[in-house]
């Protein structure tokens, strides 16, 4: 859980209060807090003067607009065919081992969430994953552990 403070109002001031501004506002909240709480969605609805159901309905359509709690760093491992052929399962196993969580879970310290995702456009450098916005490609179980350790020490 997080408190949005003035964030929603500031974002509405920045982007505007029309329906077309809904996505940029939700995207910015997720960039800051990693997911949308019910409270944040109600606040957005109030600012834009639309129903909370409209906000939830829109947010829940999009994979990256999470409405469940997510860690500070969201790891999305590509599971589509080329990454799958080139060793995605070994990457997942290495991540589950170092993070001590399963796919779909968040570490108890809320630092990492591990999920699988559909094609992220790095098939020629498979297997690949995103950590937040950043892509990591040509992964091996060894390199993926180095990458995650880098985030752990940040």
């Amino acid at each position: 859980m997080y408190q949005t403070g003035n964030l929603v109002k500031e974002l509405a001031d920045k982007h505007g209060r029309q329906r077309e501004n809904l996505m940029p506002i939700l995207q910015d909240i997720v960039r800051k807090y990693n997911y949308l709480t019910d409270e944040a969605m109600v606040e957005v609805a109030t600012e834009l003067d639309i129903s909370a159901a409209e906000v939830y309905g829109t947010a829940s359509f999009y994979t990256f607009l999470d409405t469940q709690e997510r860690g500070k760093n969201v790891i999305r491992v590509c599971k589509t065919i080329t990454c799958s052929m080139k060793g995605k399962n070994d990457i997942i196993a290495a991540l589950e081992d170092i993070l001590k969580i399963k796919v779909g879970e968040t570490t108890p310290d809320k630092m990492f969430t591990l999920v699988e995702t559909n094609c992220i456009g790095w098939c020629h450098k498979a297997p690949a994953m995103l950590i937040n916005d950043m892509p990591y490609t040509d992964l091996t179980p060894a390199t993926v552990i180095d990458v995650v350790k880098g985030y752990m020490s940040k």
Binding site: L22, Q27, F61, L65, N118, C119
Partner: protein, 386 residues
């Protein structure tokens, strides 16, 4: 059928003097620009292959003063990654293509819808955009571009779903007609073009439609950027002249043991080895938005199909029943046959279901699931059953 063989081309990534090309374009009338694009035979590079010149012509013909040009950078088709490379390397040519399209149709505003997975590119894209706006101003032309981000929904690559998303709604495709050229973004006449299409349009203005038409074949003019992955020693992005056979492609990019090539991504067609020599990559044979995936004999085509069906089951927007339920049933169906819980003849029923989805689904997603399904099940039936 015409066959051009395999030859590499360098149009898309070639560095050009954008200012000169834009000055040339802005000195032309809208009709003259459209005439060049029509003469080039350019068809949309996103996969659907609608003639670009016609799209611009229809949008130009609308009387409404407010019009938009939208660049579809929601590149989500499995196996496609060329638009990312184009934006990474030559974003200024994408912007230039949009301005030329704007001039052709009378649009002063453009939007680029970039998939959320490519957000890491955004800072450098804004740097380029700033330079572009400055240059346009120097030329004395008024055209503004804005970015809008996607948030991880494959369906938003469908043009009307993309509009819904920009407008702040769930990315659910609209009924057509009306087509975007009449009523698109914010219900205004809109031309929506793929990233590569816009860059190609700029190159056509530079070289002239008559010159561009020399590349490719009658049905597939020009060159195309291919995204090549899978079992190949040289995965990556290659610009090739259209009109080669799958065999010529495999000779260049295969690992010597290629048994199938999936052309056009999960929504495209699977070409088995026995059809390599007779199949042309292009609109006369197998069309592609650029995705080329090679599979060698170590791969199970059941696993490939299963992976695609999982993809579609998750990415179907759920709005129309044929697609929502159809995808789930196809997936369950092949699992049942594999486990021996259903007879192998059940596959024939599933093919009928895929055919029904083709005619009954609302948008291209549900309509094209049957492409991969039919071509994999028919050509690799044993692998799917046993």
């Amino acid at each position: 059928m015409e066959n051009k063989g395999l030859s590499k081309v360098d149009l898309i990534f070639e560095e050009i003097n954008a200012k000169e090309v834009l000055q040339k374009a802005f000195a032309m009338t809208g009709e003259e620009i459209i005439q060049q694009i029509l003469a080039s035979g350019l068809k949309g590079r996103g996969g659907a292959g609608f003639p670009t010149g016609l799209k611009w012509k229809y949008t130009a013909a609308e009387k409404e003063p407010e019009k938009y040009i939208v660049c579809n950078a929601d590149e989500g088709e499995p196996g496609t990654f060329k638009d990312r490379e184009i934006l990474d390397k030559v974003a200024y040519k994408v912007y230039g293509g949009m301005a030329i399209a704007g001039k052709a149709m009378g649009a002063r505003k453009g939007f680029i819808y970039l998939r959320g997975e490519y957000r890491f590119l955004l800072p450098q894209l804004y740097v380029e955009l700033h330079k572009f706006h400055k240059m346009i101003k120097e030329i004395g032309y008024d055209f503004q571009i804005e970015y809008r981000m996607g948030s991880g929904a494959y369906i938003c690559g469908e043009e009307s779903a993309l509009f819904e998303s920009i407008e702040g709604f769930r990315g659910e495709p609209r009924n057509k007609p009306p087509y975007p050229t009449t009523s698109g973004l914010f219900s205004k006449p809109t031309s929506i073009n793929n990233v590569e299409t816009l860059v190609t349009a700029m190159m056509i203005i530079q070289m002239g439609g008559a010159e561009y038409v020399k590349l490719g074949t009658k049905d597939s003019r020009g060159s195309k950027v291919f995204s090549i992955s899978g079992d190949t020693p040289i995965p990556g992005i290659f610009e090739l002249e259209l009109g080669m056979t799958v065999q010529e492609f495999v000779t260049e990019f295969g690992d010597g043991d290629t048994k199938a090539v999936q052309v056009g991504g999960a929504s495209g067609f699977c070409v088995p080895r026995k059809r390599f020599t007779e199949t042309i990559i292009g609109f006369e044979g197998v069309p592609t938005g650029g995705s080329m995936k090679l599979f060698n004999s170590s791969r199970s085509m059941y696993n490939v199909l299963h992976n695609y069906l999982e993809f579609f089951t998750e990415e179907s927007c759920g709005q129309c029943t044929p697609c929502r339920v159809g995808c789930q049933q196809l997936l369950k169906g092949i699992e049942k046959v594999k486990k021996g819980e259903a007879k192998s003849t059940y596959l024939n029923e599933l093919i009928k279901l895929a055919d029904t989805m083709k005619v009954a689904s609302k948008c291209g997603l549900g309509q094209s699931v049957g492409n991969a399904f039919r071509s994999i099940v028919e050509n690799f039936r044993e692998e799917v059953i046993y």
